[in-house]
Symmetry: C2
Subunit: 382 residues, 2 copies
């Protein structure tokens, strides 16, 4: 694309929270900025809908109130945000925000630098926000070049889930734990984590909510699966913790009692192997990181797990900043090398930007249910 031939404008999905409690999702036509010297323009062809995208997309709105307005060419989705939830989104009121953490596509224009020109025509994966857009102008260093023969749909989820799953194992090693617990374990991320742990020889205790999720993980070769809906859950979990010695958990649910129950069972498991009474409980540190909020209710726990415990938030970007660029690069290289095996994502459907605004489509993907993961293709027709 020559400078005389500016990149085309494109559709971009926008989410807006209004001060009266209305959420509005629309498709804006935005100009595509001319690429600077070290920039390229990517035609986005695949962008996953991750739980972290849903939070930004729906801003605490009640999906049951979603209504489609506007025209066929210019659809607008509205939904109501309950008053009690408005405080949590106060900081974004009035700002029309683009959505989509990651995606993949083809480089269709490039700046003047050699690095940028080299990318022309390549399929690249990008972590950079606003991926629910037809075109994105971004820095070359934000592009991860995918091996020849890789489809955008295969590289769309290169960052969030793979790096999060690898980050969990890396956190385990760096903080001195020897095995892991994961909740919502049948998710796309959970399946990836199982593949990593099996490959790396790390014991992983999978907590699921339904028998069919347990069955799915068994087909992947998972060894330790505990169903939180079973009446024997606490005992099952304690036994798995005795067997694995896991003292670190990553919890996607956030709310409710699960995080505390994990600490309780960790303490019970540790006490089964000690003989002497210690008034302050086990001296082994037990940690649960809450990295998601599938359960938006309050978190509650009984402190019956001694004094050597911690609970806290865990987020990918600060984790990568902590480990530094060198260690981050090593994780990214592993993702590319194992993109079609360990880090292969599966989607139940590919949808267009217009379809992403249909209430009946939202009703499926907003559930965050196992096996209902959607991929947006912004370059697909309505």
């Amino acid at each position: 694309m020559s400078p005389n031939n500016p990149p085309p404008a494109g559709l971009q999905l926008r989410s807006l929270v209004k001060s009266d409690g209305e959420l509005e999702i629309s498709l804006a036509t935005v100009p595509t900025p001319e690429p600077a010297q070290d920039e390229v323009v990517v035609r986005i062809e695949a962008a996953p809908i991750n739980p972290s995208d849903l939070a930004l997309l729906f801003g605490a709105a009640d999906i049951d109130t979603a209504e489609l307005t506007g025209t066929d060419a210019n659809p607008v989705l509205t939904a109501q945000i309950p008053e009690r939830a408005m405080k949590g989104v106060a900081a974004r009121v009035g700002q029309s925000l683009p959505v989509g953490n990651e995606g993949a596509g083809v480089v269709v224009a490039a700046g003047d630098s050699d690095g940028a020109r080299l990318l022309l025509g390549k399929t690249v994966a990008v972590l950079g926000g606003a991926m629910y857009s037809q075109y994105r102008t971004i820095k070359t260093q934000q592009c991860l070049v995918l091996p020849d023969g890789t489809m955008p749909s295969e590289g769309a989820s290169c960052f969030v889930n793979p790096l999060t799953a690898l980050g969990m194992v890396e956190t385990m090693r760096r903080e001195g734990h020897k095995a892991l617990v994961h909740t919502a374990a049948a998710s796309n991320l959970g399946q990836m984590l199982n593949k990593i742990c099996i490959k790396d020889g790390v014991d992983l205790v999978n907590i699921v909510r339904k028998p069919e999720q347990a069955a799915l993980l068994r087909t992947l070769g998972a060894s330790y699966i505990c169903d939180s809906s079973a009446p024997t859950f606490m005992e099952d979990l304690t036994q798995a913790l005795v067997a694995t010695g896991a003292t670190l958990a990553f919890d996607a649910t956030g709310g409710g009692k699960l995080a505390g129950q994990i600490l309780t069972c960790m303490e019970a498991a540790l006490n089964r192997t000690t003989k002497e009474y210690s008034r302050y409980g086990s001296t082994t540190h037990k940690q649960v990181y809450l990295y998601g909020g599938l359960d938006t209710g309050p978190t509650e726990f009984n402190r019956n797990f001694g004094m050597a415990w911690g609970m806290g938030g865990w987020l990918l970007t600060p984790f990568l900043q902590r480990i530094g660029p060198h260690a981050t690069q090593a994780l990214r290289q592993r993702v590319v090398a194992e993109l079609k095996t360990t880090f292969a994502s599966s989607y139940s459907k590919e949808i267009s930007l217009v379809e992403a605004l249909r209430p009946e489509v939202i009703a499926v993907y907003a559930q965050r249910a196992t096996g209902a993961k959607y991929l947006i293709n912004p370059s697909k027709g309505p």
Copy 2:
């Protein structure tokens, strides 16, 4: 005391949880072990009743059910432990446990080593458990020699509260925070922490539950005091956090919503000084350590404080192990140097071992109320 003249037997307070849910506190007559070469015998004359002692002493029993049985010479206190609380004390059932973390007294016998002989006649403070005893045989290195002219009652609380208060400030420095929040702030420990912070120029936000506690702290020169019973509490706390920049709290209550409210206000304070919307909240890490359990109910919080947060247990002994013997020694030296100023403890009453078993006395000191701190003198007559 010569080897031909063995140390006298003495009374020792014991706490026993029976499998039927009865707590029994009694005074056993126990032989005093002959001191080994590097040991001394201390006649204990002062031992404080700290909240951590109460937990071991009463083992979750309902104090309202306390009854005095036995004889005048051999009193026995019994109380009932609610069935739901038995799980928490299961590991100590059937074990007659001595109580009393710390105390002070006079060295009345010594082993053959020079180090031990040098201590004869000295007043020493000891951290070593079983301090609600008339005599304790202990290693010389566990003794902290008090300056001449120091009474045992002045040195009885040399360890637990002073080192805990210093440990909070030290934790703040080591974990990169610049100011502190403390709950139950009018306690003996809280008063000490105020003196340290004023002396060291560290901003401290004091959270109390009653206006009279706020008044008490004001007389000590505290600058930031928030009363959690005030309707404006959340706003008062947020303003104090904006003023101080505190992102670390030590919470003595443990149960309830207070720890979460502190994180909520820390996040609100941080957001008042940032301009751009960050979907994951402030990137500044906010930490609350639960070091006590004045509220024995469940801990509950709403996760409305972003992802950069942590909650966890904090305990003195593992903290001292983490910082190592050199840093620990520096803290101990500061305590001795400022024993009659910064680290002066006040007690509302001195009681004997026999008095410690009287229900009407227990009713006062078991409340853990501000200004109702008792000192046990095991060498005092009944």
